[in-house]
Symmetry: C2
Subunit: 313 residues, 2 copies
């Protein structure tokens, strides 16, 4: 059996490229958006000259449902019964069968085992998996292609993504691992949701997290294989954490000014760019005279108008 | 003095092109977005094969503030004191001075006259004006260019825009007046906000409207010059009206599924595509075997998270 460290060796930019070739005919090209207002707010004299964001629509359940419908095979999605209605509806809209479980991993795995016994279905893990990491890394490829279309020969300075289970961040870091673009991660700090950041400080992965942060997509601890990538300083430069109030402030800006509909989890990277003084100083130093363009991955937009009302009511 | 009918003669595609050349270096290129979910909903067997939308960020106050800051001249924006906080904040963020008035046109004009007397400022009318129509018509030009990038040699079948004062619709219709693409308008029906549609039926412009439709950007009657364009069957094919509930349903879809943050006024065109049986039949007939692509202009996104909460709470 291959160890996580060995598997991590195989996570190369070429593996991400291969994943992209596979999925490209079937996926929506997420547009790279820019916003003058956010540029202005982020670009006080010491900060990067431009700020770009990529709204990223997929969550795992919806992606799996879409893949199954593309392949014309049935999909069974196990979701905690407390999932937000929009996530459930989004998954069902692609034709998948949603099966509810309790919210602990033990409860979830029991339901999964039962379905597998009945249907011989293949389990597709949500983040801690080689192929999933490569697939999520295709975000970086789309982002870079669109950045180049807009910015010409300039090199993208940095990318920041949210970290929950860490698949997206590990995938993006894999793709940029042989390039100049630096990769950062962002987490909520509420009730210890910043397990990745704390793990990096302690030199050891944090295995369990119990938090009710509003960034509900980021309540998971970083996976084992993802940790191999993210804890590699050559791949991920640093991980930062933001408060619930900072997440809400960033979310309001994205909704009201950038006009993009995002869930709280999506904007932790933006919140770091706007509010974390350490990150801002780093950008100032690294960017030098030319400045850096920092791309921010927004993942995702699975929320409802009712949830927005509750959050800001 | 030139009559409105004579002025309307000068509203040509070339005039819109000229306006675009002037503003292009200074404006954000609004992306043409597509959404599979909305395509599917709109494309029951009898309806168009694809649906495309353009979020359109400007309202007049913000556009004027931006123009003034680009030219480095002061701007004084007169707004009703009941304006939404996001509109006020958006305008101020571009450096304009906001001056409040009552909400009737008489109250507003008195404040304007006072400012002009004090400052010699030039009055830039919000919609019923040759140059404003050409400027708003540049929406059509951006839309067409991006449609061609995506659709190749196929011709865009139709465009539908909201109608309040009618500048946007008249501008878009002006640009497409020598092309195959047909132009339609959409209004709320609540409390007679469908003044344009009613005027067309009666063969005479409706001069006053008093409505509290949630489409608060569309509470204005169509302007005199705009009426010249919109009532010309060769330029605007038809105007449709939708209910408050239809507007809310369309808005929820755009926010939750398309992930674009829009105000109620923005989605009246989408509501027509989704819910108006007459329009859907027309599209079916006109589109023929090939089907039509219908582009929907979303204008605008001037709302707040609190307003969203109130609307859907």
């Amino acid at each position: 059996m291959t160890s996580s460290a060995e598997k991590a060796q195989l996570l190369t930019p070429a593996a991400v490229q291969a994943a992209y070739s596979l999925i490209q005919p079937y996926v929506h090209r997420t547009p790279l958006l820019t916003c003058k207002t956010l540029d202005t707010i982020a670009s006080t004299p010491q900060t990067p000259e431009a700020l770009v964001g990529t709204p990223f629509e997929g969550n795992h359940a919806q992606a799996l449902a879409l893949a199954a419908s593309t392949l014309n095979v049935p999909a069974y999605i196990v979701m905690p019964s407390i999932s937000t209605p929009s996530k459930i509806a989004g998954t069902r809209s692609h034709g998948a069968e949603v099966i509810f479980s309790g919210s602990t991993s033990v409860e979830r795995e029991a339901v999964v085992a039962e379905i597998q016994a009945k249907t011989n279905a293949i389990l597709v893990p949500p983040y801690d998996d080689f192929n999933i990491i490569c697939g999520q890394g295709t975000t970086a490829l789309e982002l870079e292609a669109q950045y180049t279309e807009q910015a010409g020969t300039k090199t993208l300075g940095a990318v920041i993504t949210p970290i929950g289970g860490g698949g997206l961040n590990a995938g993006v870091a894999t793709y940029f691992s042989d390039k100049q673009t630096k990769v950062f991660g962002a987490e909520p700090s509420f009730q210890g949701a910043d397990d990745c950041r704390r793990g990096l400080l302690a030199g050891k992965r944090v295995e369990a997290v119990s938090t009710l942060t509003i960034g509900d997509g980021l309540r998971t601890p970083v996976g084992v294989l993802n940790w191999e990538v993210i804890s590699n300083k050559k791949k991920v430069e640093g991980v930062y954490a933001v408060t619930e109030e900072q997440i809400k402030a960033a979310m309001r800006l994205v909704l009201e000014r950038m006009k993009v509909f995002v869930e709280p989890s999506a904007v932790v990277g933006l919140a770091v760019c706007l509010f974390d003084e350490d990150f801002r100083r780093l950008v100032e130093q690294e960017g030098g005279d030319q400045g850096w363009d920092v791309a921010i991955v927004f993942s995702g937009g699975n929320t409802t108008v009712e949830a927005i009302g509750k959050l800001f009511g």
